[in-house]
Amino acid sequence: MLYREAGQFKSSYAADQQLFPILQDRVGVLLLLAVAFGVVPLVAGEYWFSAILIPFLIFSLAALGLNILTGYAGQLSLGSAAFMAVGAYAAYNFQLRVDGIPILLSFIGAGLTAAGVGIVFGLPSLWIKGFYLAVATLAAQFFIVWCLTKFPWFSNYSSSGVISAQKVVILGHTFASPREKYLLVLGIVTVLALMAKNLVRSSTGRAWMAVRDMDVAAEVIGIRLLPTKLLAFAVSSFYCGVAGALYAFCYLGSVEPDGFSLDMSFRILFMIIIGGMGSILGSFLGAAFILLLPILLDIVLPWLAGLFGLPFSNATVSHIQILVFGTLIMFFLIVEPHGLARLWQIGKEKLRLWPFPH
């Protein structure tokens, strides 16, 4: 009843092709942004900002980056964390070595550096596909981490490659508290997410999806495969690079190359598999699922144990947590292999008819 577009007639192509064609979606997104920008900073505590919201936004951005490459352009990659590392170290070095460079420019520079590296490691995609390409991107994962550890120049000769991010200062204002950092991250993620949404509804996005769905046909209608794939690698790495810079500057404060491990790349991959391939929303849902569920289980399991008076030790709780987490992932993949975004879509389709069955 509530989610029904009956009566919303489009009388121009412009109206039909806007970012959110359905009124309820427009209102929903605006409400969500209003809450995120206006309400959350007022009510959330320090723990919420630094342990939940900021990492959630940063990983959403990284997942969004990988989703552009894997979900939209169909190129499997296992190097997302490495591209984040490039972003983190690039931003650090821009701040360190370029006098008076604005931090936002450093973040953009970090994204562009990651994009450049992404293009280099995207070159094999013309000749190899699928799992074989994934293995080639695995090379990026190991090579970049090795490089950042091996050459001390990148970390300004600090021990074991650890870098401490500089202060985040914009127009003379220092973003020091978690609340301010949250707002900064939220702003950047919102802008980049909207840009991604624009990209995938344009002919750039169509070219990516065409290459993903059937590359021979894509070539025949005039899409040149290499530039299209490389653009996907570049844009994807740009997003991961910015996410990496934010990871260092607004979340952890100090990072080391080994922190951007293969494990992290896999986590980002799981986010888009569970969230939904080829969906902007799915990147956010997936990041929320992977990051927030363990925290939720952390709280719920001891509470449940206490409720039944079971003598659970902390170790048992963390084991059960892994167990439940794994089971839930399998459950979701079996019930809806297209991810949480698809579940959301099905929900919306049901809502159009509710309370009637059909």
Partner: protein
């Protein structure tokens, strides 16, 4: 019909194509005239699809020359063929499964869109303007093919016959001067075949598009095509107007066997 058949626009000379030791095409020459409907027929495995793949550059022949609009080359490249006005459909539907009908047909106009990805990301003037202009063109194609009701449907949910029609739409959206159709009516019932024939004839008649088509239904081929070329085992065994080909003893032998 208002159309008049013009000069030769595509001339294939002595094309030979091998895959390793397998000869797919041997020394084949034929030409296509402007505005005509040219059919390629032959038994299974005769090399018909390979022939189309040579024309738009998916396969590169080892020998021979392709002269398209006076320009001679040893091989085509797919995206060059597309920008020069050659569009095609495939024998096994090659739509982009994850996209809607509208988006699939919009991809047909990609080569005509100029805005770059930064303009797209920011949805600046030109990106937006282009999107609307091309949408208008695409809607004309949608109207022409009578698929307005499914424009927002993902193509993977459509029945076979409609998918074939959408694929034709994607090719037409490019406003090609030459259209290569690989078995556009395979697997269709009579009604769907009639619709498809009507679309092909209309495209040819109203838009003046030159059509090269592969088809197994002899009734259709003999009815709609101006000239027919017959392949068998990668060799050309007949070429001419439908009546000529029908009475060619070699063609009869290839289709019916030596005993007849």
């Amino acid at each position: 019909m208002s159309r008049t058949i013009g000069d030769v626009i595509l001339d294939l000379q002595n094309i030979s194509l091998r895959f390793g030791g397998v000869k797919a095409l041997t020394d084949i020459s034929f030409d296509v005239r402007e505005h005509e409907i040219r059919a390629i027929i032959g038994p299974n495995g005769a090399g018909k699809s390979s022939m189309l793949n040579v024309i738009n550059g998916v396969y590169h022949p080892q020998e021979g020359a392709i002269i398209f609009r006076g320009e001679e080359r040893k091989k085509m490249e797919p995206h060059r063929a597309a920008t020069q006005g050659i569009a095609r459909t495939f024998q096994n539907i090659a739509l982009f499964k994850g996209m809607t009908v509208l988006d699939n047909i919009m991809t047909g106009r990609l080569t005509r869109m100029k805005a770059n990805f930064l303009e797209h990301a920011l949805w600046l003037g030109r990106a937006k303007r282009e999107e609307l202009e091309h949408r208008k063109k695409v809607e004309e194609v949608i109207d022409f093919l009578e698929i307005q009701h499914i424009r927002k449907t993902p193509v993977s949910r459509l029945p076979y016959g409609l998918q074939k029609r959408v694929e034709l739409g994607r090719a037409l959206a490019a406003e090609p001067s030459m259209l290569l159709l690989d078995e556009p009516m395979a697997g269709m019932n009579v009604e769907e075949k009639q619709d498809m024939c009507r679309f092909i004839l209309d495209v040819n008649d109203q838009l003046g598009t030159t059509i090269v088509l592969i088809e197994h239904d002899m009734g259709v081929v003999m009815d709609i095509s101006d000239r027919v070329v017959v392949l068998d085992y990668g060799k050309k065994i007949g070429d001419g107007v439908p009546d000529e080909v029908k009475n060619n003893p070699e063609v009869i032998k290839a289709y019916l066997g030596a005993g007849h």
